[in-house]
Each structure stands twice: as C-alpha cells, then as structure tokens.
Amino acid sequence: MVIDCHMHVRAAKDGTLDTAYCDATIEAGDLLGIDVFCVSDLQLTGPLTNAEFHAANERVKQAIARHPKRYRGYCYVNPADPKALDEIRARVRDDGFSGVKLYNQHTIDSDVVAPVLELATEWRIPVLMHGGRPNDPVTQQLQPNISTAAHFVRAAERFPKALLIEAHIGGGGDWEWALKHLREAPTVFLDTSGSVIDEWMVDKAIDALGVDRILFGTDMTMEGGVGKILDANFTDEQRARVLGGNFQKILDKRNVS
C-alpha cells in the first residue's frame, strides 16, 4: 500500500471543506498510484487560535467521511493553546485521527510543545512537524520559529520514544544541512515531500538515515513527490518500505487509551 504521509486538505471560501480539491487529490492518487493520504489542514499565517484549528480539524474529519478508505487525519493544533491537548484527545480518540500535525508557531524542542510530545509518546502516535532550514531572508523572516533538524535532534533527546517526523526534506531549505543533523537523531523520521525535486536528494537521505527512517510524502507536489521516489536508487522492497511500509509500521504502534 502506498501512503502519502504528508498531504493537506483545504478550506473553501465559505470555510467548509474544499470538496473539489479533496476529490482532485483522490483523482491524482488514482493516476499516480497513491492509495492513502494522511492529511492536515493548515492555517498558514498568524497565531493559530483554538477556533481556527478546531475548524481545520473539522474539515479533515469531513474529508475522511467523504473518502473513508483514502484519507487519514492528523490533528493540527497550536501547542501553546490551552485547549490543544483536549483537541488532540478528541480527534485521535473519538474521530480516529492518526497523529498530530504541528506547524511553525514554536520550535519542536520548546517547552510549550513538550506536553503534546508527551501525549503523542504515551499514545504511540506520530507527530509530523513542519521543518526546514531556509537560507533566504524572506522565509527566515516569515518563519522565525521554524524547526530545523537541530531542533528535532534536541526534541528526540528529550523524548527518545516519540514518533517524530521532520516534514518535507524537499520543502524547507538546505536539505543537506538537515541530513547532517538528523544522522545524530536515530529516532527521527524524515518525509520526502516538498516541491524541491533535486536529483540525489532522496538517495542522500537514505545514505544518511537508512531506509527505515524515510517516509514517502508529497505535500501537494504530486508528480514530483512520486517521481523522486521512483528515481531513487534502492531495491523494490526498499522502495515499498519508503512508499508505505515504514509509515504503516508507525501507525501500527498506536496505543490510544
């Protein structure tokens, strides 16, 4: 089974699920051979409020209801919000969401994120965290609290049993810098998504981290996301692990009380 571990749904103008985009994603999956999308709905600007992430997660729930065999959900929260843990508990336990999605409000090693990582570790669910190391001033200014691979290393040292995924090796800047750091964090996974389709990128990620820590994702770069995996230099068995086997193993660890 091919699982895209990093994909999104989005809101229509009226704030409900953009069903056309939701269906177009399934159509793209059919064309490209992607069976399941694990999705979140991101509010990309400003301090995310409880009402905003609740609405975002509601849209994910709607997408799952619309295509129950094709969508799985991440619960997106601002970890600084006092209701963040309640939202995660409700979405994961009651709505069947598979994990937690965090963006760039706080770095993953900060104290404010720690309660989320504690709960996710206890429940054995993955935390997909936006990450990267942008070298350009525009992105640096827009995302001052983006988690770099160095932040992931520190978070993994603090929570060695957490199922942490650094998002999009191809979506956040200097990926070679990221690989150098992630070699030192053997419990951190890395997803392959993002619009950067540099030749040699996935092969270098595998060389640095090993096949078992690499997870297939697109983050909306569909042909690029699939193509970079098809071109990577590994066996069919290794490719199958990256395309879904590794992520399925993570999902199978779930122990929600």
Binding site: E176, G227, D231
Partner: protein, 271 residues
C-alpha cells in the same frame, strides 16, 4: 507503483538539461555520458543542454566551449544552448562562434550575470540572436531560493518580466524554462503570451490538483509547451509523470514530449 517505464515512442526531447558543475552543490551524472545514460533510461532521443559552469564563470563562453567539446562525440543526441553574458566583453564574437559551432539557442542569466533584464545589453544580444536564427531562453531559477548557498543571493526571474521583454521583441522566439505559470484561465497574461512566439517548459508546473499545465495548454495550444527535466539538478521522472497525468490526447502529448522542441531547435539549422 513501479519504476517509470517509457510511455512514449521515439522522438522525446528534453528541453531543459545541463552538463557541468554547480559550485554550491555536488551534481552527479553531470557529464555527457551521464546525461546520455539518463536519456536512454527514459527513452529520450535528444536533450537541449546548457553549460552549468557557464552560469558562474566570468567568461561564460568558456562553458560553451567545454559543452561543445563534451557533446561533440554525441552530436546527434544534443541541441546546445549558448550561455552568454551581454554585459561582458566580446559577446558578439562569442555568439558568432556559437552559431558556427551549431548551437541552437541562446541562454541568458541576467541575475547571475549582473545586468538588468530590461537593459539595452539584453536587447542587443536578443537582436543579435534573432538575426542568427536562435531562440532566446531564460530560466526562472536554478535552485530553490530557500536552500541557496550564502554566496548565491540571486532571486527568481518572474516570467511576466520575460513576457514584457518579449513584447518589445515580437519577432524573437522566447523560451521560459523552470517557472510557474500559474495564471487563471481568463488571465490576460495568457493572451499576451499566445500573441507571441513564446514557449514554456513544464518543470515547475503540474497536471494534477491545480492542473496549471492543462490551463496553459488551453491558453497557448499544444505547440508551445516543452517537456523538460532540469537534470542533473532535478530528478527526471516527475516530468514524465506530468505528461502521463496530463488530460490531453496522444497527439498533444507527442507535441509536448518532443515535436515542439524538434521544430524549435532544428529551425535554425534548417534555415
């Protein structure tokens, strides 16, 4: 999901490839044998190739000479882009040499080469290339700016600024490589592009979700779109998956896969 199998017949042309080194990131398969190996894997008969070295050499023409030397034993597999800097000494003579050597198109990097896109130098070399029968190409970017080296402070080139330049030289054939043309179906930009000999390559476009290749196809028609991989900077399969996923008939896909490039890059030699 299995490794890509060539879906198209002979005649595939990669309109966007490089040979050479990039000082900020190690490339592999970046010589003529490496590129040919990739082409054979994907059933590509010819690649339109530019010198990666020429982007940052002070004297870009040394890159052109290296490119010509490397590809000469395999001349039937390549069309060559001549990379020149119109703000540098002696470009007129270098352009003539490129024409004599059989180069098929001109490549300009105004940002890397330190002159303004809308400068007199740009217009002068465009006019000279047009006189020689060469299309003029620009790349929107070489690497994603978010991962750039601290010495690489170059921003992307906006395709709209290239379009504005093209409108000043309506008889020149322009090629926009590696840019996002994500304009709405009813945008005037498409009408302006359609009115000119303006070609676009699909490295940064998509056939699914936003479907901007399909929108571009509707706006410009099947004869203006080029398949390109960006290899060895970029991995090649995505380009083919875009063609595979594109909602278009087989004839249209054959145009994009190679027919348009064959017509475009052969025209100088046949004239």
């Amino acid at each position: 999901m299995s490794r890509y199998e060539p879906l198209f017949g002979p005649g595939i042309i990669d309109a966007h490839a490089f040979i050479g080194n990039w000082p900020f990131r190690r490339l592999r398969h970046n010589d003529a044998p490496g590129l040919i190996q990739m082409m054979d894997t994907f059933g590509i008969s010819k690649a339109c190739v530019a010198s990666a070295d020429a982007i940052l050499y002070r004297d870009s023409h040394d890159g052109n000479r290296m490119l010509h030397e490397q590809t000469r034993p395999h001349a039937d597999r390549f069309f060559l882009y001549a990379t020149l800097n119109p703000a540098y000494a002696g470009w007129q003579r270098d352009l003539r040499e490129c024409v004599d050597l059989g180069f098929s198109a001109l490549r300009l990097y105004p940002t890397y080469h330190g002159y303004a896109l809308e400068s007199l130098e740009t217009l002068a070399i465009i006019d000279a290339a047009t006189e020689a029968g060469l299309p003029v190409s620009f790349t929107g970017r070489i690497e994603d700016v978010r991962q750039r080296h601290w010495m690489d402070v170059i921003d992307n080139i906006d395709p709209e600024s290239v379009l504005a330049l093209a409108e000043q030289r309506p008889k020149t054939t322009f090629i926009m490589l590696e840019a996002i043309l994500g304009y709405p179906r009813d945008s005037d930009i498409w009408k302006r592009m359609h009115a000119l000999p303006f070609y676009a390559e699909l490295t940064r476009m998509t056939s699914v979700l936003d479907k901007n290749i399909e929108i571009m196809l509707g706006a410009l028609g099947p004869d203006r779109i080029l398949l390109g991989t960006g290899f060895p900077f970029k991995t090649p399969s995505p380009a083919f998956l875009k063609l595979q996923c594109l909602n278009a008939d087989a004839e249209t896909k054959e145009h994009i896969a190679g027919g348009n490039a064959e017509r475009l890059f052969s025209s100088k030699n046949s004239s």
